[in-house]
């Protein structure tokens, strides 16, 4: 396949030091790191049916060794995530090469750009009292205010504060997360302060969320996070005229003044 030949060529010529793609291991498609020393493994490179946040792994590797050149297998969502990470100085564009693949085919195109899972149709109870994950923001706006509140509170009360949504998010990179800060939303207390926990996360996702859907996949209680962050990005487009993940201009949520002042990684090596 062309993809395999191109990756082999990159590794041999030294265009990339390592390439992260997928490989079948023990019957599961898992991410794998292909290197020049074992170039025959590239024959087993597959696109894979499951998605992992490969760009987040790339940020970890770059933090350990800043000059390394990494190749990635990038779907549409990965490409948007990389665009956001470049803007926020977490990765350097000249150190990343991507092999762009099409999104996995799905006959349910309504649920976002790519959905390798059939979106779970909400059960009977959830449809009556909660928020359906497959809805769009305009469907929520059909409810009136008290009903919206009770539906969202039903969803947020299920949260077990596993931090899965934050841990797996490819554009979440803060060293000090507000969701763990003892003076803001603290750790430990269960149930979490609904809806503060989720609204804080939603506000932090403004200008960063690229609608990859990994958060909703990682949520053990199926809170419709993707719907919430989609609404947040709609507001950002309407109010700030900024479309996340598209261009290379600075986001409107920079910290002080007009420049993004987050220091580029690596701030710390692998001590953590």
């Amino acid at each position: 396949m062309e993809m395999i030949a191109e990756v082999k060529q990159w590794l041999e010529e030294g265009t990339v030091d390592l390439f992260i793609g997928y490989k079948m291991a023990m019957g599961h498609p898992l991410p794998h790191c292909f290197v020049k020393e074992k170039i025959e493994e590239v024959d087993d490179l597959i696109i894979g049916t499951s998605r992992y946040a490969l760009e987040k792994i790339a940020t970890h590797i770059t933090a350990a060794k800043p000059d390394i050149k990494i190749g990635l297998l990038a779907r549409d969502c990965n490409q948007r995530a990389l665009a956001v990470l470049y803007i926020w100085n977490q990765l350097k564009p000249d150190q990343i090469r991507t092999v762009n693949v099409n999104c996995c085919p799905s006959n349910l195109k309504e649920h976002g750009d790519c959905s390798y899972l059939e979106p779970e149709t909400a059960g009977f109870f959830k449809q009556r009292v909660g928020v359906n994950n497959t809805h769009r923001p305009r469907d929520i706006e059909k409810y009136d205010q008290p009903e919206r509140l009770s539906r969202w509170m039903y969803e947020f009360q299920k949260c077990i504060k596993c931090y899965g949504c934050r841990n797996i998010c490819p554009v979440c990179f803060c060293q000090e997360c507000s969701l763990q800060h003892p003076e803001l939303v603290g750790t430990g207390a269960l149930p979490p302060e609904v809806p503060i926990f989720h609204l804080v996360r939603a506000v932090h996702m403004a200008g960063r969320c690229i609608d990859c859907g990994l958060c909703e996949d990682a949520c053990p209680v199926d809170i419709p996070l993707r719907l919430l962050y989609r609404k947040v990005n709609e507001i950002v487009v309407n109010v700030f005229n900024y479309e996340t993940g598209s261009g290379a201009d600075q986001p409107p949520f920079s910290i002080l003044g007009d420049q993004v002042t987050l220091e580029p990684k690596p701030l710390q090596a692998l001590e953590n």
């Binding site: 030091d17 898992l30 998605r51 992992y52 350990a64 996949d217 990682a218």
Partner: protein, 135 residues
């Protein structure tokens, strides 16, 4: 720079969720859920997300400690094992094996829990094994 992805099973609780360790240069950097695992299908609880923390934690004991005169003194393995075995033997000879009880915990791995109950039953010879969740 060696980057490896090692699939494994979570060592807390009895559910057995599939996890994926991201290992950079021989050190576990982070934990990811395994998306195609039939038990958890890509989701983890907070204990599973932090499996890598206790491996490289700075709070991890590196040497056995013996409490002498109210303070913990560092010692070596032979000394510690000999001391513990002698004390256990004394107690068992004097009061019988049921004088010893073993408490296991949800904060240690499943493998260590198994070893603890095996030690209690086969070595000490007592049935007094219990878990912190039952207290």
């Amino acid at each position: 720079m060696k980057v490896k992805f090692i699939p494994s099973i979570c060592s807390y609780c009895g559910t057995g969720c599939g996890v994926l360790f991201e290992v950079i240069d021989g050190k576990i950097n982070s934990t990811l859920p395994m998306k195609t695992h039939p038990v958890n299908e890509g989701k983890l609880c907070i204990k599973g997300w932090n499996l890598h923390e206790h491996v490289n934690s700075f709070m991890r004991l590196k040497q056995p400690l013996v409490k002498t005169f109210g303070r913990f003194i560092k010692t070596d393995w032979d000394e510690a094992i000999r001391l513990t075995a002698d004390r256990f033997r004394e107690i068992i000879e004097k009061y019988g094996p049921d004088a010893v009880g073993v408490l296991v915990s949800a904060k240690i791995t499943n493998e260590e829990n198994y070893l603890a109950q095996k030690f209690a039953r086969a070595v000490i010879g007592t049935n007094n094994v219990d878990h912190c969740a039952r207290l």
